[in-house]
């Protein structure tokens, strides 16, 4: 594959929150990854590991008590240092399309879906005129499989799945080169999840220059459409590897990722013992050591991300592992 400029290039991104009382919460620490054009990168991890904070940082939507470090290059623009004006005018919607986690909170409750879609079409594309706007809005709704007869409803009248589809439709309007999907499948049925992620994948495949960064804890959805997988634990990326190798053979190499896959109902269905550490009180060494059955004395030192895994004793890449289906 030719080396093309990545659509998004994240280097050393860290986010921390300053809480009253001097406490610091390190929500994201030292994230490094690229998203290449035509690629879907799935960022997976438990709830509370910092994934959504990363998404907020990329869009400049962090609260006032947040501090960032590092860089996130979208083409030429560093998202972390760009001003609000630049982000609002050129980035959001146009260069990054956000598919939010809770559509009910992101759709204006006092306007119909049709009026919100038409407004977005009018702002982000060059379409003008009532008839053209109406047609464009219906086309946009159709791309996310949102039924046209529901366009005149208000968000509170829609079920969770329909609201998610409406939010997806709005995100796709601007034809943004990078789609950022923050838990797009929460609360949706299995086949609706499949349809949603397939639609996102179609959007990426349609034009070789687009990319998708999908943040999710739904491993089945990630398996379905991702090209590469990044596993996040306690604010750090602990594994960054090819999706087929991750979900198939030889399987994940970091003990946490192995545990995560083993917890699926179609595999061993066993949980990982213990609970993730508090982001405000992270241990000095490897954050997973307390729950890891392969932990040794080395784990008191933070393992760097080498060869796609951040672990002192990853499962060897060459050993074929039997994954019970």
């Amino acid at each position: 594959m030719t080396e093309r400029t990545p659509v998004l290039s994240v280097r050393g991104l860290s986010v921390r929150f300053l809480l009253p009382g001097g406490r610091r919460v390190a929500a994201v620490t030292d994230a490094h990854f690229d998203v290449a054009p035509g690629e879907c990168l799935a960022l997976i991890g438990e709830s509370g590991c910092g994934k959504s904070v990363l998404a907020s940082a990329l869009l400049g939507l962090l609260p006032a008590n947040a501090q960032t470090a590092g860089g996130a290059l979208l083409g030429e623009l560093d998202l972390l240092t760009a001003g609000e004006h630049t982000l609002a005018r050129t980035v959001r919607g146009r260069r990054i399309g956000l598919i939010p986690q809770s559509p009910a909170a992101h759709l204006t409750p006092v306007r119909t879906i049709r009026s919100q879609t038409e407004e977005t079409v009018a702002r982000l594309t060059g379409v003008r005129g009532r008839a053209a706007l109406r047609a464009a809005a219906e086309r946009a709704a159709g791309r996310a499989e949102f039924p046209a007869d529901h366009l005149d409803r208000y968000p509170h009248e829609l079920s969770g799945g329909l609201a998610q589809r409406a939010a997806t439709a709005l995100a796709l309007i601007g034809d943004a080169p990078l789609l950022l999907a923050d838990e797009p499948t929460t609360g949706l049925d299995r086949d609706l999840v499949d349809r949603t992620v397939d639609e996102l994948r179609r959007h990426v495949d349609a034009d070789g220059g687009r990319a998708l960064l999908m943040i999710t804890h739904d491993l089945a959805a990630a398996e379905r459409v991702a090209d590469r997988v990044a596993v996040m634990y306690a604010g750090r990326i602990v594994e960054l590897t090819d999706a087929k190798a991750f979900f198939g053979t030889p399987g994940p190499r970091h003990p946490y990722s192995r545990g995560l896959l083993d917890a699926l109902p179609d595999r061993a269905f066993t949980p990982i013992p213990g609970m993730p550490p508090e982001l405000g009180a992270l241990p000095a060494g490897c954050a997973f050591a307390a729950r890891c059955d392969r932990a040794t004395g080395d784990c008191a030192v933070l393992p760097p991300l080498t060869d796609s895994v951040a672990c002192h004793h990853p499962v060897p890449a060459a050993a074929p592992e039997d994954i019970r289906a």
Binding site: S47, G160, L162, L192
Partner: protein, 225 residues
């Protein structure tokens, strides 16, 4: 034996959420109810837990038909059901610490003395460490809060467990952990379970049998979303 016969229920008499649903759960059995979102499974689950009065139909618990619902239902019958809901954030009173949240059913039924013992017991079972117990809901993650809600549902040793999309918002490891807790409880007490969800793989793995929504209600009214 928990029997739901021809239940029609909803929030508007003219447009019921559930029409003519029939379902039976034998003692000690785990039944999964699989259906798309928005089709009324949650309403049926609430009827089964005696939290919602159906417009028509009958609910029979251990041979006795249920005549009164919600606050009017006799306390022993109400507390025979343990319910866990989909959204932990809305299922927890934001003012109560987790330890008070779990202890609340004990206090409400006059069993104050057993509070410390039971709470410590259950917290250990669901995997909550003591330092988490003193926190309020906004200081813990969704997974931890859902564990506390499950502990609350189990604290009165119910004979029937109703899990309405208990794990829909949780990651794989927490899902496996909570299902494990439910199954351990059922193995030791022989409680029956009605698990409502939309994830076929999970329900097939978890429950003894899975009923599709189209088998529970007459097919003419299967909803589309």
């Amino acid at each position: 034996m928990l029997e739901l016969r021809a239940i029609t229920a909803g929030y508007d008499r003219r447009a019921p959420a559930v029409r003519d649903a029939t379902l039976t759960v034998s003692p000690g059995e785990a039944v999964g109810l699989l259906g798309p979102s928005g089709c009324g499974k949650s309403t049926l689950a609430r009827v089964a837990a005696l939290l919602h009065r159906p417009d028509s139909g009958e609910v029979v618990v251990d041979g006795t038909p249920v005549r009164r619902w919600r606050h009017r239902a006799p306390r022993e019958l109400r507390t025979a059901f343990g319910v866990v809901f989909q959204q932990p954030r809305l299922s927890a009173d934001p003012r109560l610490r987790l330890t008070d949240l779990i202890a609340e059913p004990l206090r409400a039924t006059g069993r104050r003395a057993s509070v410390p013992g039971r709470v410590a017991d259950l917290a250990g079972t669901v995997g909550l460490t003591p330092d988490l117990l003193t926190r309020r809901p906004h200081e813990v993650s969704d997974g931890q809060l859902q564990r506390a809600c499950l502990a609350r549902a189990l604290v009165l040793r119910p004979r029937w467990l109703i899990c309405d999309e208990m794990t829909a918002m949780l990651d794989a490891s927490t899902t496996a952990a909570l299902v494990g807790v439910v199954e351990d409880y059922r193995a030791s007490t022989g409680a029956g379970l009605l698990a409502v969800g939309h994830d076929r793989t999970l329900l097939d793995r978890w429950c003894d049998r899975t009923a599709g929504w189209h088998t529970v209600t007459p097919p003419a009214l299967v909803c589309g979303t």
